[in-house]
């Protein structure tokens, strides 16, 4: 097995036992990048020199006999909407094409303290708006399982990098499914933590009440390890939740006897591909075989999640993206007359079509005369969706369904029809609206393309998600599949 296809916990043991050095590992991953990146295009920026320096530092500590943090020396890719001091952070947008943050996001401070090796910044849909990674202002990323297909979005670069061995772990962000969808399409593990569990300080804002940073990995143990590093209260984020920090690896016992799991019938009905449903049914059989009690349930307002989300998220985005005016950083249009003309030209030239569409939609939903009919109604429906989950969790420890209604689609297939593209998110949006955690894990293949199983948990119930995900993984082989 190649080094670049091993997991972080395997590599940690090899580093500690001096079977490999961090520099060798980093070079192996960059050799892999050199080999496949032309086809995959997962990265906007590679930080090779810095990575080698970071690896050497880990090796010096190792030789000196210092105890290594668990993820020390592990190559990690970072989505390009997470601020990295001194390293260009573009959000895959022309309007930030040259932005070099003067500070680190809190998650980057945490990764640096852990002594991970950052490989680079990954491609995404511009400002995290999209489900296919085709909305990047630079280039689309390809799915490692079939390069004619999309990797999912918006964190498509991070998912593709982990799937193709171009990183061992990665960070993404999830506002309506942007970690889980690409995890499902690329056959890797991806988790959206509870809203408030991971600091958003230094995450470029899209929809602030929904955005959450989370991990990508090739197995559930690695997901728990990366979650251990990035979680925790942060005074720099006023929506960061004060809660007790846990060691998530303590949930990886394999024992799920007697756990009550609900399957919302809305997630297994119309609009979900037959092949996907078969994979999920197979997963249910595995969990039942391990002693879980699986029963059908209902989240009756599921069909309203899509319209509610596509009003709330654009409304927040229209406000958040008002800051891009060409004054303090980023792109500025030349040949502008007065200052308002400069704002308008800068924004019109700097933003891509989907970003403009969402700014327009959000501005409309918040404008006089439409606020109550659209935005406020969407917030009330958000309450109903959250209540559905609260009721279900009185009866069940967690809920289960597919992550996406289908497998990875072809590039160009949905890009001209925004509503069709938005439909791809029907299984993931409710989770963000309710603020709960969810994980997508590889559960099988349909026509040689990966299918993700989504587990949804109670607020701050990441541990229980990992418990079930781990039990499933230990009794199946899907996480050992790699694209050619």
């Amino acid at each position: 097995m190649h080094l670049y296809y091993l997991t972080a916990h395997q590599l940690h043991d090899m580093l500690v036992n001096k079977e490999i050095s961090a520099e060798e590992l980093t070079r192996a991953v960059f050799d892999r990048i050199d080999q496949v990146e032309e086809k995959i295009r997962a990265y906007i920026t590679l930080t090779r020199e810095q990575a080698i320096q970071q690896a050497r530092q880990v090796d010096r500590a190792r030789v000196a006999g210092e105890e290594l943090p668990t993820l020390a020396g592990i190559p990690v890719a970072v989505k390009d909407n997470i601020c990295t001091a001194g390293v260009r952070t573009t959000c895959a947008s022309k309007i930030l094409y040259n932005y070099i943050p003067p500070y680190n996001a809190t998650v980057m401070e945490k990764l640096n303290k852990e002594q991970v090796v950052m490989t680079g910044k990954t491609n995404m849909d511009e400002f995290a708006m999209g489900s296919s990674c085709e909305n990047s202002a630079f280039f689309p990323t390809c799915n490692p399982w079939d390069t004619g297909r999309v990797p999912g979005g918006s964190s498509g670069g991070s998912a593709a990098a982990v799937a193709a061995g171009e990183a061992i772990l990665a960070l993404g962000s999830d506002t309506g499914g942007s970690i889980r969808l690409p995890a499902s399409f690329c056959g890797v593990v991806g988790m959206k933590p509870t809203y408030g569990a991971v600091s958003r300080y230094g995450l470029v804002a899209y929809a602030s009440s929904l955005d959450q940073i989370g991990p990508f990995s090739r197995d559930v143990t690695d997901c728990a390890l990366l979650l251990n590093v990035i979680c925790g209260h942060d005074p720099l984020d006023s929506t960061s939740a004060p809660y007790e920090q846990l060691d998530y690896t303590s949930f990886l016992t394999g024992d799920i006897k007697g756990m009550k799991i609900g399957v919302p019938r809305e997630y297994m009905g119309e609009g979900i591909d037959t092949g996907v449903k078969e994979v999920i049914t197979g997963a249910i059989n595995v969990l039942t075989g391990l002693g879980a009690e699986v029963e059908e349930t209902s989240l009756p307002h599921t069909e309203y999640a899509l319209p509610a989300y596509y009003l709330i998220a654009p409304a927040e985005a229209s406000s958040n993206l008002a800051r891009y005016d060409g004054v303090r950083y980023g792109y500025r249009a030349d040949r502008a007359g007065d200052v308002v003309d400069m704002f308008m030209k800068t924004r019109s030239e700097g933003f891509g079509p989907e970003v403009k569409r969402r700014i327009m939609l959000g501005t409309y939903a918040l404008s006089a005369g439409y606020y109550d009919a659209f935005y406020n109604q969407a917030l009330k429906v958000r309450t109903l969706i959250k209540n559905d989950f609260d009721r279900a969790f009185e009866q069940f420890d967690l809920l289960l369904g597919p992550t996406a209604p289908g497998t990875a689609f072809k590039r160009g297939e949905k890009i001209d029809d925004p509503l069709q593209m938005y439909m791809v998110d029907i299984c993931t949006l409710s989770v963000n609206l309710a603020g709960i955690p969810a994980i997508s894990i590889p559960a099988g293949m349909v026509d040689h393309l990966p299918v993700g199983l989504q587990l949804m948990g109670k607020p701050f119930g990441e541990g229980e998600l990992l418990r079930v995900a781990y039990a499933f993984e230990q009794n199946t082989d899907h996480h050992r599949n790699f694209p050619e």
Binding site: P102, H301, L306, K356, Y364
Partner: protein, 93 residues
């Protein structure tokens, strides 16, 4: 239905300058999306409070103490245009 006039009004509010073609595309696409969103109005939400935020956090305060700040050089390093320690913009009045 969102007409061209309405698209122009919203674009101005959002400080976007759209081409004739963009106006037509957005008129059609926004109409489709908002038509889909009308579904929300089927629900009776008279007694339902809105959820703007899922966490029960309010008024997160900190001590009123001067913290660390970025030096002007770092703050201005990304500026498209500057003069001394200021961001420079085209004429306002």
């Amino acid at each position: 239905m969102i007409g061209i006039k309405e698209v122009e009004h919203v674009a101005l509010l959002a400080r976007l300058e759209l081409t004739g073609e963009e106006k037509e595309v957005y008129s059609r696409q926004l109409s489709d999306i908002l038509e889909h969103a009308r579904k929300l109005q089927q629900l009776d939400t008279k007694d339902v409070p809105p959820t703007a935020h899922v966490l029960p956090l309010q008024n997160v305060l900190r001590e009123d103490r001067v913290g660390e700040h970025l030096p002007p050089e770092k703050v201005l390093a990304n500026a498209p245009d500057r003069q001394d320690d200021f961001f420079k913009v085209p004429r306002i009045i």
